[in-house]
């Protein structure tokens, strides 16, 4: 094992230890007590039919409460298409 692999293995072990301890110390799966109560999500669930008119809460969040995220996502898709066409332009003929 070379020196590069040794350093990489040590780094990998440190990250693995932190991630596994983080997973074991999460709150129990599917239960929310008062400390972790999701106030923002509860507000959206209660008001999405009056404020946006959509029955589907996820569509209400994507297109109304967080419309800027959708705009940025469309920009990323546009840029990816432009990049792929630019990269393969010379190989087409």
């Amino acid at each position: 094992m070379s020196r590069r692999n040794l350093v990489a293995a040590i780094f990998f072990a440190i990250v693995a230890i932190f991630l596994v301890f983080g997973a074991l110390m999460m709150h129990p799966f599917g239960e929310f007590d008062e400390e972790h109560y999701p106030e923002m999500d509860q507000y959206i669930i209660d008001n999405t039919q009056n404020e946006t008119g959509a029955d589907n809460g996820v569509t209400g969040v994507v297109f109304d409460y967080r419309g800027f995220d959708t705009l940025g996502e469309a920009t990323v898709l546009f840029t990816a298409v432009a990049g792929v066409i630019l990269l393969f332009r010379r190989l087409k003929k």
């Binding site: 946006t52 959509a54 589907n56 419309g67 800027f68 898709l77 990816a80 792929v84 087409k92």
Partner: protein, 163 residues
């Protein structure tokens, strides 16, 4: 990639319209059932990709021009941003209007008198203001973008014949 065998082409001919209509259904009713612009666009792009794999990219390039798909994608993006800016522009005409970018200006309004009554009987399809229109524009962006990516990559790396 050149075309595949006759069995694959026949099954593609049978399955293609059903998958495409299912995707358009998901886009059109995205505010009432699980679905929306992204998911329906992905399903329609999957059906187009199935035709691409079955018939080969050279046949597709003879039928569909790449520039037309770029125009479709740009049209979707312009529709999305335009719908966002209408919420700002309406401030100039109605002084009591509280507008902002991406404001849902069709919900809870009475300037267009009969709009909210259209489609009330047909299972409330017109309840969400501008959200269905945004679903259509995002669906256009996703269909054209993913199909252009697959088409360009498959045509540029095609297996050259007679070499």
């Amino acid at each position: 990639m050149s075309g595949m065998s006759r069995i694959v082409k026949t099954i593609t001919n049978v399955a293609f319209p059903f998958v495409m209509i299912y995707g358009l259904y998901i886009i059109a009713r995205g505010h009432l059932i699980p679905g929306g612009g992204f998911q329906g666009g992905v399903v329609v792009a999957s059906s187009l990709a199935m035709v691409l794999v079955a018939y080969g990219s050279i046949w597709i390039v003879g039928k569909v021009k790449e520039k037309n798909l770029s125009v479709l994608e740009s049209l979707g993006a312009i529709c999305f941003i335009g719908l966002g800016f209408i919420g700002v522009i309406l401030i100039l005409f109605y002084s009591s209007f509280e507008g902002s970018f991406l404001k849902n200006f069709l919900i809870g309004q009475d300037t267009i008198p009969i709009f909210n009554e259209i489609g009330k009987g047909i299972s409330n399809i017109n309840t969400a203001g501008i959200i269905p229109l945004m679903n259509f524009s995002v669906g256009m962006i996703v269909i054209a973008g993913l199909f252009v990516i697959l088409l360009v990559m498959a045509y540029a790396t095609r297996i050259k014949e007679g070499k």
